[in-house]
Amino acid sequence: MKALKTLAAATLGAFVLAGPALAQAQQPVKVGVIFPLSGGAGPQGQHVTQAIQAMASIINESGGVMGRQIEILSRDDESTPAVGVSRANELISEGVSVIIEGWNSPVTLAMQPVINRAGILDITAISKADPILSGEGNPLAVRLNSSNSQDGAVIAKYIADRKAKKIAFLTENDAYGNGAQESIEAELKKINYEYEKVAEEKFPFSQADFRVALTNVRAANPDITVAINANEGLGMPALIRQAKQSRLPGQLVTAVGTVAPSVISVAGEAANGVVGADIYFPDVEPFASNEMNKKFVAKTKEMFDYTPDKYMALGAAALQVWAMAANELKTLDKEPIAKRIRGGTFDGTIFGKMQFGPNGQLMSDHKLFTIEDQKIVVRSASN
């Protein structure tokens, strides 16, 4: 028994001792990246990581950060908070200067206090939960993906513009889904729009069979059905397909950022006609003519044979903004960089001009789109 323990301890020791490298002037700057690389969200997490790698090589080609090259250390949080925390601890002991993370909100919320206590800058790329910016886990939080309240406005405006009266909600029953629905309703109230909520169906995140819920919605005969489901691998494509098959009346509108190209590829033809909204489209203005964006899209295609979607762009933009701030301030320290980003503005990013709110939230610009021929077609700017 003791021999076993000693053996385990010895191997543990050997690996830990070999771990931390000495930080020297011309050593690369280590950037930690934590996303799910396996499981349902694995493919998307891998793409985001790849996009960050593409952005790192763009930055490295133009001189790196303070003259040093960026080295990406990528980890898999397995969509599990406990694993995420372990991985964050690993990266901290590897001496990273910043950690870019966050696909699932609980994973981000779990990692925040750990990274914060270690005095390392933590940039959340995608996780949407509101408490991420509350300051409880990390007083210097930064988050790029749009918040629920920003998203609510654009869907509310669409509903009002369509003069739809009977609204149904198909909502994932968790903090994200309920928050998204609340913000849409709050925005509708704010613009004093009169509507009737004819159906409201909640379902668990892992749901893939929506026939029971859709039957209820269909019976209510809504003008617009808002589908809020962040389960891109399974739930959202299933919902889109089953809505089509069940001949759901009215227009199906998806919550902001829930319909990525990957969803459309699984949903297939059923996705045609679905309306959604998002904040980044690689080949639509103003992104299409943005030199930085073109460079990024080209680099991602060259390195990974993949056209970036919003999530990938958010990951890459997180790295870009951090590198800009570091180069400008000539430091890698957490506090000055976080303060520069929070409430600050950056020009020449893949999103063009990026502006952050004082709470660390990126201000984003939403665009409505319709899916036609299984492609995202952005609606004219008048919307």
Binding site: S38, V212, A213
Partner: protein, 288 residues
């Protein structure tokens, strides 16, 4: 609210649940074995069917036996590895080993098939039927028909045929069965092979209803638990009725309360039943 449609939903769901659970019911009834890898075997069945249809270009009807064969193979391997534990009836170890099998199957399937969502499209699943206000697919009809035929055939086999009798003898008393000249090991192998084939058949039929992922399987295990326990452990008829009841419960609970809590509610019912009549579950082994 369209109650007829919910009734249709419930009936289809119920037959799907019964079909998913049947392999486990027999496994439990005859060999007194539990299989926590059941959900992952379902996943594997769905992916092998998908691979046959969309990668090898096989007709759906050929892909189903193909998937069932894969299920039989997995069942054989599991039983081969666990034979010592099975003969010892070391249930503690068996439960944990099957959990381990589930892990291995998940990992291996994700490495083989990738972890993106896929659609298992069959000639039946794409054909919708609209009947007045009602909607279902030919796939749904196939699920109901196959489930009924399968249960009827199984019931007949167990009650009326020599193989069924042998299985029942082993179920009641494996040692006495050996004295009746029965090769108990072979019956155990057969039961595991049946479990593999049955769950693969269920997957091939039910999985086309929703997109498939290599990380799925958890919900299927949960459904199976409820069906098997509520149906009276090891009872074929009971499983069918429990599956149907669970399907209707899910549909109507979803219609009147919320789909969000349907699974938890089903489990709450299950716990309540067990508290009220803990002894009433030990139905005759052998699966009557």
């Amino acid at each position: 609210m369209n109650l007829t449609q919910q009734l249709v939903n419930g009936i289809v769901l119920g037959h799907a649940y019964a079909l998913i659970a049947i392999g486990w019911t027999v496994l439990l009834g005859v060999a007194r074995l539990v299989n926590f890898g059941h959900g992952q075997m379902y996943m594997l069945g769905a992916f092998v069917t998908w691979y046959g249809v969309s990668r090898l270009g096989l007709p759906y009807i050929v892909s189903i036996p193909f998937a069932m064969l894969a299920g039989v193979a997995v069942g054989f391997i599991m039983q081969r590895v666990m034979l010592r534990l099975t003969l010892k009836q070391d249930l503690v170890s068996i439960m944990i080993v099957t959990l381990g099998f589930g892990y291995v199957l998940h990992g291996a399937a994700a490495l083989t098939f990738g972890s993106t969502g896929q659609i298992l499209e069959t000639p039946l699943s794409t054909q919708d039927i609209y009947w007045g206000d009602l909607w279902f697919t030919y796939q749904d009809i196939a699920i109901v028909i196959v489930a009924i035929l399968f249960f009827a055939a199984l019931k007949y086999t167990i009650d009326r045929t020599r193989i069924g009798r042998l299985a029942r003898m082993v179920a009641e008393d494996p040692q006495l069965a050996a004295l009746a000249g029965i090769n108990v090991k072979r019956v155990y192998f057969g039961v595991f092979a049946f479990e593999g084939a049955a769950v693969a058949l269920a997957a091939a039929l039910v999985a086309p209803r929703t997109p498939i992922l290599t990380s799925m399987g958890f919900d299927e295990v949960i459904v199976t638990f409820v069906v098997v326990v509520l149906g009276g452990i090891g009872s074929v008829t009971g499983s069918y009725l429990a599956g149907l009841a669970l399907g209707l419960f899910t549909a109507f609970f979803g219609a009147f309360v919320s789909p969000a809590y349907a699974t938890a509610a089903a489990f709450a019912v299950l716990i309540a039943v067990l508290v009220v009549r803990p002894g009433g579950l030990a139905v005759s082994p052998g699966g009557r």
